[in-house]
């Protein structure tokens, strides 16, 4: 893995390939602001970066120049982002990392929250916006569509402090050229009520076992992307299926995951998609075990709910978002300043804490209000994140590099999810 991306200008000149690239992934619903980040394979059971970026095979993005040098700010910058990423104190006066940015740079921030990756891509196509906090599915689409430019990370001083484990990933770089800066990351964990679920589980089997004693009180994430969680479990428990990447499932593998989930439905109490619903269900005891985000566990614990979380031995799915600059940005200098700001130790610490994820800047860990934030969210724990399969939009072309079979794309995942829920 290259640790320092080459300047964009030195990458091999390419024109848009005539052959279909890896495709424009379908959207992942992210009703919640909690972005479904996505990424092609990422780190997995294999050492990170070993399988050459599956998302990149045959993928040649349109030639767009990165900004050569940084000039003075244009006075404003227009951002498209997930809710909770650009807070100016209007929702909570104490949560504000935009005003200091405006004061420091003179760049007025105009922000638009996007509800889904699709909306993000559509908004970026209008040409009105300078930067976007893209999830993995959107990021690849934006790169392929020529909507975002490569980023010269040398112009972003704080980039040097970003965790190496987040740099040069298939969802933020193509052929070693960076297309953005990593915002943060998190994993979809297993949470359980300590007073009910005994002994403490260390495996997803507690949510997949049809004879579970917790029948009717199991919860699962309500999105087709959850099929990947079943695939992660099958990778460990049914090795003969040969699943190498939970987002690259051929017919047999996909059917196995769907069958597992149909069976799981019998013991599910409810599917969850929003934050408030999940915390409340665990608090009331309607749910006693299931997938969660670290931040949900924290809120539940703050309200004295007896819950614990773990990253089960089989591994888990997760997310990682990227700030990217529009190809035709009208305010490129302010956009670069924003990218630098959002990954600066202080701001990155604030956004990571507010949103509930691991920061991308290593120095942020000293700046968090909760001194243990990075520990709680395993920010520095590459070992931990090596077990995380970052959300990636499944496409017909198998992401694990197989060419002899076709994989199920996201439209089919969506249909299967409808069938699973019945």
């Amino acid at each position: 893995m290259r640790s320092t991306p080459r300047p964009a200008t030195s990458r091999p000149a390419t024109s848009r390939s005539a052959t279909p690239g890896p495709a424009v992934p379908r959207l992942v619903v992210v009703l919640s602001a909690l972005a479904l980040a996505v990424a092609a394979c990422g780190s997995g059971s294999e050492p990170t970066g070993a399988s050459a970026a599956p998302g990149q095979s045959g993928f040649t993005p349109p030639k767009i120049e990165a900004l050569q040098s940084l000039g003075t700010g244009e006075g404003q910058v227009n951002l498209v982002h997930w809710a909770g990423y650009v807070e100016d104190g209007s929702n909570d006066p104490k949560v504000d990392w935009v005003t200091p940015f405006e004061q420091a740079t003179g760049c007025q921030v105009n922000s638009k929250v996007a509800g889904t990756s699709d909306e993000m891509v559509n908004l970026m196509k209008t040409g009105e916006y300078d930067a976007v906090s893209a999830s993995g599915d959107a990021s690849l689409r934006l790169i392929a569509g020529g909507d975002v430019a490569p980023v010269d990370t040398a112009l972003i001083p704080n980039y040097a402090d970003v965790f190496e484990g987040l740099k040069d990933k298939p969802w933020n770089s193509v052929n070693g050229v960076a297309y953005g800066v990593p915002h943060g990351r998190g994993a979809n964990l297993l949470m359980w009520r300590t007073d009910v679920v005994k002994p403490a589980p260390d495996s997803w089997s507690v949510v997949f076992d049809p004879a579970s004693p917790y029948k009717g009180k199991i919860t699962a994430y309500d999105s087709p992307i959850y099929i990947a969680d079943a695939a992660v479990y099958l990778m460990a428990t049914k090795p003969d299926l040969g699943i190498k990447n939970p987002y690259a499932l051929d017919d047999t593998q996909f059917q196995a995951a769907v069958d597992l989930l149909k069976q799981q439905r019998q013991i599910i109490g409810e599917y969850w998609s929003d934050y408030t619903k999940e915390v409340q269900a665990f608090k009331s005891g309607d749910s006693v075990a299931g997938t969660t985000w670290q931040v949900i566990a924290n809120v539940a614990q703050a309200d004295k709910t007896p819950v614990e979380v773990t990253l089960p031995k089989e591994g888990a799915t997760g997310w990682s978002d990227t700030w990217m600059v529009a190809a035709g940005a009208k305010n490129p200098n302010c956009a670069y300043k924003w990218l630098d700001w959002i990954i600066s130790p202080k701001a990155n610490a604030q956004v990571a804490e507010y949103f509930g994820e691991a920061p991308s800047n290593a120095k942020s860990c000293e700046m968090t209000a909760d001194p243990k934030h990075c520990e709680t969210f395993h920010a520095t724990d590459e070992e931990y994140f090596s077990k995380v399969w970052y959300w990636t939009t499944p496409i017909a072309q198998c992401l694990d590099g197989r060419t002899d079979v076709k994989c199920k794309d996201y439209a089919e995942w969506t249909r299967a999810w409808t069938e699973i829920k019945g």
């Binding site: 992942v28 509800g115 087709p224 109490g269 619903k277 309607d286 017909a396």
Partner: protein, 308 residues
């Protein structure tokens, strides 16, 4: 609305007005307006066309056009590579919709939920509306209408969450989540939409009619069956159109209290919001549309459509 100026199209120049007065036919000041008024008075057809023009452009052309465009797109498909629409006719979406069992199950479940909600609302709303319209003194009526209208202002989402709290295992009711919870919550949310038309219908029902029935010896139950119910039936149907259609299109309540169940609205939403598959979403959307059209056709004769 209280001036006529904004509805008056520019009239012809007042050429006649300044000309020499001739006998008693002097045009009054504001001649053009007056002439226009005279034209409008004489020509009912013109009046009608003017009245219908804007609403028809809006609903007949723009809205129906949008609906038509949507259903045409159900015959297209989405390119899985580019995510773009491919505009060539295919029945694949409808074939899949009709041949996959799960969609039938979901459609039937959704109709069942909508029917249950409508029935529950009717049973709760009718006596309430009756007491409001016929028993309460006129002064109290105004307050009762306010009491029924007020909940409409509390956010839909917040009310759904309040029911989530009530139904939760350790909540006040503790009945748990699922289809039943969905039906209860939807019934709650749409109840005012059932009460108001029925109340209006009962209010229109002259008391003298009820008294006459009584004088002729009819007891309460018989009066209800032969006088009250037939005369308020259109209002009931009007209310049911609200509750039925609102339930049929809902996808949020079921996410909040539905446990592991899903309705047809979720399928539409998942396909357009998540998968960006407009053609398939449009194909699924034809199902509730056809159901509603059938419902409207069935109730049209009752005169309900004029009682919404």
């Amino acid at each position: 609305m209280n001036t006529t100026a904004n509805t008056t199209p520019p009239g012809p120049p007042p050429s006649a007005a300044p000309s020499a007065p001739r006998g008693g036919t002097t045009p009054a000041p504001g001649g053009p307006r007056r002439r226009l008024a005279a034209i409008l008075h004489r020509r009912a057809r013109l009046r009608l066309s003017l009245l219908l023009s804007a609403p028809m452009l809006w609903l007949g052309v723009a809205y129906l056009g949008a609906l038509a465009a949507l259903f045409v797109s159900a015959l297209w498909r989405t390119d899985t590579f580019t995510g773009d629409l491919v505009r060539e006719l295919t029945w694949a979406n409808f074939r899949e919709l009709l041949t996959t069992e799960v969609y039938r199950t979901i459609a039937l479940r959704s109709v069942g939920v909508a029917a249950a909600v409508t029935l529950i609302d009717l049973v709760i709303a009718f006596p309430m509306a009756f007491a409001m319209a016929k028993l309460a003194p006129p002064r109290a009526q105004r307050w009762l209408v306010i009491a029924v209208l007020t909940p409409l202002w509390a956010s839909y989402l917040v009310k759904a969450y309040a029911w989530r709290v009530l139904l939760s295992a350790d909540g006040l009711l503790g009945w748990g989540y699922g289809l039943t919870a969905t039906i209860i919550t939807l019934s709650y949310l749409w109840l005012p939409y059932m009460i108001l038309p029925i109340y209006a219908g009962l209010e229109r029902l002259p008391n003298s009619l009820l008294e006459a029935a009584g004088d002729l010896g009819a007891r309460g139950r018989r009066t209800f069956r032969t006088v009250v119910w037939p005369l308020t039936f259109p209002a009931v149907v009007a209310g049911s159109i609200f509750t039925f259609s609102l339930s049929l299109g809902d996808y949020i309540t079921v996410k909040i209290v539905g446990g592991r169940s899903q309705l047809i609205g979720n399928v539409v939403y998942d396909n357009i919001g998540a998968a960006n598959n407009l053609p398939f979403a449009a194909a699924v959307a034809t199902v509730p549309v056809l159901i509603m059209l059938a419902y409207l056709a069935a109730v049209r004769r009752t005169g309900a459509l004029e009682n919404l």
